[in-house]
Amino acid sequence: MTSAGEGRRGVTVALLSTVVFFTVLAVAITHAPGWPEVKRTFFNWNQFRDSMPEISRAFLLNVKIFMIAEAFILVLALVLAVVRSLSGPVFFPMRALGIAYADFFRGVPTILVIALLGFGAPALQLSWVPLSTTFWGIVALILVYTAYVSEVYRAGIESVHPSQDAAARSLGLTHWQSLRKVVLPQAVRRVIPPLLNDFIGLQKDTALVGFLGSVEAFKQSQIDAAATFNYTPFVAAAVLFVALTIPLARFTDWLVLRDRRRRQATGT
């Protein structure tokens, strides 16, 4: 059997198997006794169509939140990771603070940080403290995600072989120059998939800002669901979030592939 023949057979079997599997799944689900009610409650086309425009508009707030937050997170997390990688006893207090920060903000649930900052900070009634709930939601997300992303950077930095730093130092570069020109470019490139993964997580967590009252996509879908006692608006919001994630995930895959090709090409 030629490899082309085997390939064709493989495709046929895959196709057949997929069709059968999904047919079986569809039949099993639609014949469950509760299916009509689930369909009316979760997959109601009229509800979906009616609630989608408003949810899409509210989704713009989510986009605004994660774009602003991500810009700050990428920078601040890198600073934190570098601070934690500083060696030498004189830097001990900074390293200790960095560790405490990362542990605390990875430990407290994000929704609690949002609630504490969003309602607590304005309650201080200081005139220079902004009252906007969206502002505090963004700040809370930045604080929490900086902690997670700094760990990702740190892993990247530590994965760069020490011989790179040693070679840079032996060429006369200072510690900072070596970090900036040799270690960090390699480290960051290596951790792009986990960074984009955390970015995707951030996109979902923007829904938590709704707890403070801002009407973003999830909150808008809650409003619609409560008004009609139908859960389809939640499905509509979910569709929007997933639609955003898929291109980003494929873009990540493409980036990784391109980076790998480049690195392998320069090896020859």
Partner: protein
């Protein structure tokens, strides 16, 4: 030999499909349109036989519920019979033939009260406004209270000196999720700033105290509780005029539950003999000026 597993898999899945196909066509039977022929206590359609299971959310806020807090309930205690909704529930239970000890309260968060599937309660009483769209998912009882929306503000803030609806339009409003207060803001007040919506009463009150919102729209009785207890510097700017059909609260039941008919009979009796009115006078302070 590589063919065999594929064919075997195919055969197995086809069998499964056939098997599943055979057990279909059991139409979900939830339509019992005729009211129960009898509303005798013994023939009522109940979740737990011999017991009236009533649901409401936690915390149970005054003036809808009262009495000292008792676990798992926070702020007040539905079992006390104090507070308008607790009193109405017990009055309905008495008309249906239940003793006070035969009424059981369970915590039902608002969002789960209308979730599909069998309900764990006979009815849920939680300041839920009737809406036609909602009535396709659950059954509503007749009205036990006609609602007016009102505006709570903090004394001394710019909005507190407004005297008409037009004057309050430029401010930022808030409402609680799932209340028709939000609808009223969007449809009738039409402010220039997008309103904020809060999951819980506490979050809304916190935002009002922090001046993150200028005014909170709630039903009038809740407004009295908020200004009396939760926001001491708060005041009710006024109540909003009814626009269109008056809003009312109803109890919610599982769709097709014949108990609705019996409860509606009980409510009619309570209305005609003046019990509902006296309970309202006792628990729900009447009035605030109407904003025009």
């Amino acid at each position: 030999m590589r063919r065999a597993p594929a064919i075997f898999l195919f055969a197995l899945l086809s069998l499964l499909a056939a098997g599943c196909g055979g057990s279909s066509n059991k139409a979900s039977d939830t339509t019992s349109t005729a009211a129960a022929a009898s509303c005798d206590k013994g023939s009522l359609n109940l979740v737990n036989a011999g017991q009236l299971t009533v649901g409401t959310d936690n915390p149970a806020f005054p003036p809808w519920f009262g009495g000292a807090e008792k676990a798992p309930w926070k702020v007040s205690n539905p079992y006390s019979g104090q507070g308008y909704e607790s009193a109405v529930a017990y009055a309905v239970a008495t008309k249906l033939g239940f003793a006070k000890s035969e009424v059981k309260w369970i915590v039902v968060p608002f969002n789960t009260s209308f979730a599909p599937g069998a309900k764990k309660f006979d009815f849920d009483i939680n300041q839920i406004s009737y809406k036609p769209a909602r009535a396709t998912a659950v059954d509503f009882s007749d009205s036990y209270y006609n609602v007016n929306q009102s505006l709570v503000v903090v004394k001394g803030t710019p909005i507190a000196s407004a005297t008409s609806i037009a004057a309050v339009k430029p401010y930022k409003f808030g409402a609680q999720l799932g209340t028709t207060s939000y609808d009223y803001i969007i449809n009738n007040i039409k402010p220039s700033k997008k309103p904020a919506v809060f999951d819980t009463n506490d979050a809304a009150v916190a935002a009002l105290k922090n001046k993150q919102i200028d005014g909170l729209v709630v039903d009038l009785p809740t407004a009295f509780y908020i200004t009396a207890v939760q926001v001491p510097k708060g005041k009710i700017l006024g109540q909003f005029p009814t626009v269109g059909t008056p809003e009312h609260f109803g109890m919610i039941f599982e769709k097709g539950n014949s108990l609705v008919g019996c409860v509606n009979d009980a409510l009619t009796k309570l209305r005609t003999d003046g019990t509902l009115e006296s309970l309202q006078a006792k628990w729900l302070q009447a009035d605030a000026p109407v904003l025009k």
